[in-house]
Amino acid sequence: MKPDDDCGPAHMAAGWVLGMLAPDEAREFAAHLADCATCQAEVASLQEAADAMAAAVPPAAPPPELRGRLMATVSDEAELFQAAGSHESERVNTHPPRRRLRRAPLAAAAVTLVLGGTVLGGVLADRGDRRAESRTFPGIVTPAAGAPDARAAILVRGDEAKLVLSDLEGAPDGQIYQAWLERPPSAPTPTGALFSVGASGDTTISLPPLRGARRMIVTSEPARGSTVPTLPPVVIVDLVAPGRTPG
């Protein structure tokens, strides 16, 4: 459809769809779009044309190793979630499909990670056919940053480490979460993992290799991150289980 000639900002719809507008224009159009049915329809229609441009490139087979890496990660996480949530799966089936699918798996997994991380680590460790040993380290979310049922845990496989967070509150306005590794007696080192959480409060963050680290902490920092933590940690994960060190 053509936009209404009387709708002034409609001429920005194409630039909006393609992400070409200047920041002030984008803000102006976003505010207008929220209340303009004409522009909403125009954007939806133009979006289809823009999306089609992805298909203009002749398909190319990805490297076979990519599938291997993806499926190894996916299989690990699926097993982790399934091991965590067998009773949960019965409960979630009572919800409508979209809602049922929304967040139960991560929450269930996180709960079990916290309560039984070592057990789950064992489950994954037994699958030594094509993956390195996996371990989980349960953590805590301080009341300042999380709902009462907020959860944190780190899943480690080889040099890969993932921080799984559930029900974390968003960082204060203008700030961002930053992950750090502590290797005493050195000061905490920034990991480069700067992240925020969406409305769900759930997220999974990749961490660098944990070699020698005794603790992972998350602090709230200015938007560009910091070189040293400026506030007390809001998430703490101890990485030294009795008799073993990570990595």
């Binding site: 001429h11 393609l18 823009a50 999306d51 490139v57 087979a61 990805p62 599938r67 499926m71 699918l101």
Partner: protein
């Protein structure tokens, strides 16, 4: 690596597969990868000009799909559009981290036929045909409009950047953006290209 779930999902729609992914089932995820991985990889390589960078972008997009399938909203497009949007966004993030001139060099590269290696499945052939169809629609645009659309979509250029780089009035770029995308929409409709 061959599929761990050969033949899985052949009779299922993308939406049905995505529901399985939202239940954290690997088989439908792998079926979606089988179905859309080649287009995703081609798009990322077109944008980034590098196989290694394209792998990173595709890996992150598919893992994002795996972890956030439950948040998929059909009102905002097909699963394929959603996935390719994630591939494009991740590729644009990588582009923005590059030096400006490198980013521009990649974005300006012409459309280069990139032949897939290995055997092509029936789905691959259909998608190659689709690529030809969409390229025909793009080719029907005046070159100056097509150029603006390609710089924006594949290179993440803003209207102001295009105006500055090509030394043309910003209003001209805005006009070409609007006319180009509207014409592409009509050209696709005439050809009968279905979204998704």
């Amino acid at each position: 690596m061959t599929s761990g779930y050969p033949g899985y999902g052949l009779g299922l729609t993308d939406e049905e597969l995505l529901q399985g992914v939202a239940r954290l089932e690997p088989a439908p995820f792998e079926a979606l990868y089988e179905r859309h991985g080649p287009v995703a990889f081609a798009l990322a390589r077109r944008m980034l000009g590098s196989r290694a960078c394209a792998e990173d972008a595709v890996q992150e997009a598919f893992l994002n799909l795996w972890r956030s399938a439950a948040s998929y909203d059909s009102a905002r497009g097909s699963p394929r559009s959603w996935l390719l949007g994630m591939v494009r966004n991740r590729s644009l993030d990588l582009l923005r981290n590059r030096r400006v001139h490198e980013r521009r060099r990649v974005a300006i590269m012409g459309f280069e036929e990139r032949i897939a290696t290995g055997e092509e499945s029936g789905a691959d052939l259909i998608r190659r045909d689709e690529a030809t169809t969409v390229r025909s629609a793009l080719a029907s645009l005046p070159p100056e409009q097509r150029c603006v659309l390609e710089l924006a979509y594949y290179g993440g250029w803003t209207q102001a950047e295009i105006a500055e780089h090509f030394d043309m009035p910003l209003g001209t770029v805005k006009g070409r953006t609007r006319l180009g995308l509207e014409k592409l929409r009509w050209a696709l409709a005439e050809i009968g290209h279905a979204a998704g």
